[in-house]
């Protein structure tokens, strides 16, 4: 992270995370917002609705749809018609959108959507984990995860810039932890309209629904071309690796804040133990690292900011000299007993010359609290791997045996 706190201090206001996001969306000049209320996303859409009611977002229509399915479907139409299009959702709402997610990315529509991460039912649970967005990882959306309210606000503008890049044209999910970020009041610098105007050019797609140039969108592709449609999506994801870095760098030039591009690192240069994680848990991990570094433990953090595209090279470069890598996942692939970050990190290192043990911990499901002590315990487990190898590759954290 690079940031001039002294400069930012003058401009800071204490607002709720959801408000910071809504304000960022407003500054990005959307033409169509379409959303359905669901906890804990509600404050974002309420704040946007109030902006609309106050006439604060010019040239914008807000559609109060009857479901998440229609929320995103409406944006298929609006984005194809050349409108900058935004939505926000979470959990069950995101799962309901599943079919539309593929449709948006396949049609190469640069929709931006904030996902306020929440656990998935059953059992129903409104608190934070990453099962909702991780379960949509293969839908062709770029997925970025933010560690705090400033980052999710800043990421919103970066998301539009990446999505609408003519070489990319992929939808972007910006992910923020439910309640932990969405409902917390923190000092943030809200995006300034004039600087955003400089940062984010107007959305002008090459093709749009236009009676003067009547193109057909959404044709069906038979086996002769379907493969190539998928290949082109993957190619755009590959190109996005650099665009995500560029968008963060350009943002830094104009706004003076950098939260990482594909990844960010903290104390990794000489680290024997590298923890990997996404989202707000990053703050807790940094606290644990500070505490342990003071005791001489060589531990660092690799924050994964972009989960799709998955930053394989960037991860390899950071972990190649470590003695153990620990992936923390607020999600699980039930039946594999692994979280996605763990599985994909292992896969990224396989077939390479990098020989570092990787272990995984599934943590914080359904909003289970993650105290610094839990992170310290995990680091203790990692130390044992350095000394005597892996005994348990992937496991649940802080299981309550008395409930089993």
């Amino acid at each position: 992270m690079q940031r001039d706190f002294e400069k930012d201090k003058k401009n800071m206001v204490v607002v709720e995370g959801s408000y910071a996001v809504a304000s960022a969306v407003k500054s990005c000049r959307p033409n169509v917002i379409s959303a359905y209320p669901i906890t804990p996303q509600t404050h974002i859409v309420e704040d946007l609705s109030q902006f609309m009611a106050d006439g604060a977002i010019p040239n914008c229509e807000y559609i109060n749809v009857e479901s998440e399915f229609s929320a995103l479907s409406a944006l298929v139409g609006s984005s194809a018609a050349g409108a900058r299009s935004y939505s926000a959702t979470t959990s069950q709402g995101l799962e309901l959108m599943h079919e539309v997610l593929f449709n948006v990315s396949g049609m190469r529509l640069p929709v931006v959507m904030t996902v306020v991460n929440r656990a998935v039912s059953a059992p129903i649970n409104i608190w934070n984990d990453h099962q909702d967005s991780i379960s949509q990882r293969d839908t062709g959306w770029i997925q970025l995860y933010a560690e705090d309210t400033q980052e999710i606000s800043d990421m919103t503008a970066q998301a539009f810039k990446i999505a609408e890049d003519p070489e990319i044209l992929l939808p972007v999910m910006t992910c923020m932890d439910g309640f932990i970020l969405s409902h917390v009041y923190e000092p943030v610098v809200l995006l300034e309209d004039d600087i955003v105007a400089e940062y984010l050019p107007p959305f002008e797609p090459e093709f749009k629904l236009d009676p003067k140039n009547p193109k057909t969108f959404g044709a069906f592709a038979d086996p002769n071309s379907y493969t190539e449609f998928r290949y082109l999506q993957q190619q755009a994801m590959d190109k996005a690796l650099k665009k995500i870095e560029d968008a963060a760098a350009e943002f830094y030039d104009l706004f003076g804040r950098h939260y990482g591009g594909l990844i960010d690192t903290y104390e990794t240069d000489d680290a024997d133990i590298i923890l990997m994680a996404m989202g707000s848990i990053v703050g807790t991990i940094k606290d644990a690292i500070d505490k342990l570094r003071a005791k001489g433990v060589k531990v660092g953090l690799l924050k994964v900011r972009s989960f799709r595209p998955f930053p394989v090279e960037a991860i390899r470069n950071v972990v190649k000299d470590a003695k153990v890598v620990v992936a923390l996942d607020k999600n699980i692939s039930i039946g594999l007993n692994e979280g996605a970050l763990f599985t994909e990190t292992k896969a990224s290192l396989y077939n390479t010359k990098i020989d570092v043990p990787v272990i995984g911990f599934m943590i914080g499901h359904g909003g289970r609290d993650i105290p610094t002590g839990t992170i310290e315990n995990i680091i203790d487990e990692a130390k044992k791997v350095i000394d005597s190898g892996i005994t348990v590759e992937s496991q649940f954290t802080d299981l309550k045996e008395e409930l089993l």
């Binding site: 190469r108 044209l169 193109k215 969108f217 044709a219």
Partner: protein, 86 residues
């Protein structure tokens, strides 16, 4: 031809697909009976009844699938369905 992003297609481009080969029976006009009422042109689901300068119509056999709606609906029985000879 490379795929434009999202697979956007040009208007009216199914014209490359000549569906006339589907036909078993072909419609044939009897211009002595035709009263130029335009019903055949209006109803044709394959847009294969083209107007001529003299107000009569002719079939576009490149696309006509031989459904026979024109012959069935013609108020003057001015269209006959004739077996295709292949």
């Amino acid at each position: 031809m490379t795929i434009p992003l999202g697979g956007v297609c040009a208007p009216g481009s199914t014209l490359v697909n000549k569906t006339g080969g589907w036909r078993t029976f072909k419609p044939v006009f009897d211009y002595d009976k035709c009263i130029k009422c335009k019903l055949c042109e209006l109803l044709c689901p394959d847009m294969s009844v083209d107007p001529r300068d003299d107000g009569f119509f002719e079939f576009n056999y490149d696309f006509c699938k031989g459904c026979g709606i024109c012959a069935n609906e013609c108020p003057k029985d001015a269209i006959e369905m004739v077996l295709e000879e292949k």
